[in-house]
């Protein structure tokens, strides 16, 4: 039933974007106590968007996306410590370093496909993790990189203890990244990349330099993940070794799968649901969170392979016109109950 053509259709900013914007503004005014959580949700959305570019739009499977988040975070932390406390320059530094890491690992990773590719991304990320662990004189190893200060944004807005500035700053960055990815995936470049995902052979016969395009996209996505990492370094004032860990790579993959790949809303929705759920359940018991996450994953794979946004899509498609509703109702219903079930423990 799923056709390629609608997937390639250009998408413009619409109602849903306005709703998301409204939600973010409402969070700022009404959920004052949760601003720290909301800020980390925003950072994770940036990170998930970057993964969506790689995984959803280009079909490159990766288990090591934290490599870019972490290198961006360390770059921004070290930049603030040794060069300049300017946050915007720090973001640029994070993006550049992560982009370079992406370019180098991309050359390695994109040579192969399938499971070998997954393993190579994993090996690259683990190498960086071990490097961060060994280079204690630079990264402070397990203790985490601390002791740097971040100057006020644009010289005016100082980071306050309530996290107001941090939230707005992260939100502004997210907005910029979101608009950029929106532009990117709808650009001729983005469309060719999606074409490559669907059929690389045909694209190369059409004269597209498949390898180069993939490498470009991989590098851009790495730079965006670096921005997310840099944001986290600036907002939290610490860079832990966790930012390079396998767990983070797995988590962001879960967020994206939860939301739905190949759609920017999927990354947004998945990150929000994952972060809020993990915060609520982990507050009770981290072990329960792990179990709940496991159940959630199995349920999503079983009943909503397109993720939550896929469910939403099918639902809106049904309300809009009398579509072939048989499969839609079946797949739509159990998902709703399953998410309810997750919240209760």
């Amino acid at each position: 039933m799923k056709q390629v053509a609608p997937a390639l259709r250009r998408k413009r900013l619409g109602m849903l974007d306005a709703l998301l914007l409204l939600g973010a503004v409402a969070t700022y005014f009404f959920a004052d106590l949760y601003l720290a959580l909301a800020t980390s949700v925003l950072i994770m959305i940036v990170f998930a968007l970057s993964l969506d570019l790689v995984q959803g739009y280009c079909g490159i499977e990766t288990l090591g996306h934290a490599a870019f988040f972490g290198s961006g975070a360390y770059a921004a932390g070290l930049f603030a410590l040794h060069v300049s406390p300017n946050p915007l320059l720090g973001l640029v530094a994070g993006a550049l370093v992560a982009g370079v890491v992406g370019l180098i690992t991309g050359v390695v990773v994109l040579r192969v496909s399938g499971l070998t590719q997954i393993m190579l991304t994993l090996a690259c990320a683990t190498l960086l993790y071990e490097a961060g662990n060994i280079a204690k004189s630079i990264t402070m190893g397990d203790d985490g990189l601390t002791g740097y200060t971040i100057a006020p944004v644009l010289g005016m807005f100082e980071f306050d203890i309530y996290g107001h500035t941090a939230y707005l700053y992260a939100f502004a960055v997210l907005l910029a990244v979101y608009l950029f990815t929106q532009f990117l995936v709808n650009s001729p470049f983005g469309l060719t990349v999606q074409g490559i995902r669907e059929n690389a052979m045909r694209m190369s016969l059409l004269g597209v330099r498949v390898g180069l395009r993939r490498l470009m996209l991989y590098t851009i996505a790495a730079a965006l993940a670096g921005v997310a990492g840099a944001l986290s370094a600036q907002v939290n004032n610490i860079v832990a070794l966790d930012t390079l860990s396998f767990t983070l790579s797995a988590n962001v993959l879960v967020m994206l799968a939860l939301g739905g790949t190949g759609r920017l809303y999927g990354a947004v929705l998945g990150a929000v649901v994952f972060m809020v759920l993990s915060d609520r359940i982990a507050a009770i018991d981290p072990t329960n969170w792990l179990a709940a996450l496991g159940v959630l994953l199995i349920v999503v794979v079983r009943f909503a392979p397109d993720g939550l946004i896929g469910v939403v899509d099918r639902f809106t498609a049904r309300t809009r016109r009398p579509a072939p509703a048989v499969t839609t109702t079946q797949a739509g219903a159990p998902q709703a109950t399953s998410t309810d079930k997750e919240v209760t423990p």
Partner: protein, 290 residues
């Protein structure tokens, strides 16, 4: 001179024993990957289950080490078979990402359950009296248990090869892999063959987990902590190749042991560097299929 040679020799034996254990833990995954094309990220969790079953059989039921080992392996096999019939069937036709997510979800659940039942502390399975101590040959000494683990793994490796190449079941399995539809046509019950294979794979990893608890101690997050190790052995060997897993296990075990001793500054770095190098030179692994 002789002293350094002796050190090198005993380190090499340790490395080979470690490599054989790596092979034992990961060989089940090789089978699942090569045969059923399922990316089973919960595989090392099965190794942990085997270890815990063995430990419990010794502690709670007071069984002998070897009996407990048997109990652990059979317990893991039964659990593996049950899970295969229920959960894994769902993802046989799913795409790579779906398999990845479901199996890692399963690993999360197993970890959480293990933490509830066993607590968070590191545990090792006590070695029986007869396997303790070392054998000394002048300056050169080896741990008896390492030799025992090495022999066990070698026997298993030989057994798997024999089972696949020389038995009717092995022939059925290879037929079912190469062409499931045709295999069905000649009367092979493909789902049953797959279930048995999966169970055997789980049992092998359980055995590996139980035997290697001296090197990789049991803990609730075992299934996630050593997952990367298992995956790189399989990937470096070439997906689905038993011989490749053996070579990769041995090579990586040696590199890791020797590297940690001679270049301590690099620590765990060496093994990943080696994997990167192997996969760069041979993207399909040491004995990869084209």
């Amino acid at each position: 001179m002789t002293q350094s040679l002796a050190t090198f020799l005993s380190l090499s034996i340790d490395g080979v024993a470690y490599g054989m254990l790596l092979f034992l833990i990961s060989v089940g995954l090789t089978v699942t990957l090569g045969v059923m094309r399922v990316v089973n990220l919960a595989h090392s969790a099965f190794a942990m289950i085997g270890g815990y079953f063995t430990l419990w059989a010794m502690q709670r039921a007071g069984l002998d080490f070897f009996v407990a080992l048997l109990v652990g392996v059979i317990g893991t096999m039964v659990l593996g078979a049950v899970l295969e019939r229920t959960l894994y069937r769902w993802v046989y036709t799913a795409n790579g990402l779906g398999q990845l997510l479901m199996t890692i979800g399963l690993a999360f659940i197993i970890c959480a359950i293990a933490k509830h039942l066993a607590g968070t502390e590191l545990q090792t399975i006590p070695v029986p009296q007869g396997l303790r101590g070392t054998w000394d040959f002048g300056a050169f000494s080896v741990s008896v248990y390492r030799i025992f683990a090495l022999v066990c793994s070698a026997v298993v490796a030989f057994g798997i090869w024999l089972g696949l190449e020389r038995t009717p079941f092995g022939a059925k399995l290879r037929a079912a892999v190469d062409n499931p539809r045709m295999a069905r046509c000649v009367g092979i019950n493909v789902p049953v063959v797959f279930s048995i294979t999966f169970a055997i794979g789980c049992g092998l990893s359980g055995l590996g987990g139980a035997l290697s608890s001296q090197i990789l101690p049991l803990e609730p997050y075992y299934g996630l902590k050593y997952l990367v190790l298992v995956l790189i052995v399989v990937a470096a060997g070439g997906l689905g190749s038993l011989r490749g897993s053996l070579y990769a296990g041995l090579l990586l075990g040696l590199i890791d042991t020797l590297g940690r001793y001679y270049v301590p500054a690099l620590g765990a770095f060496m093994i990943y560097l080696a994997v990167l190098a192997i996969l760069l030179i041979r993207p399909q692994g040491l004995v990869g299929r084209a």
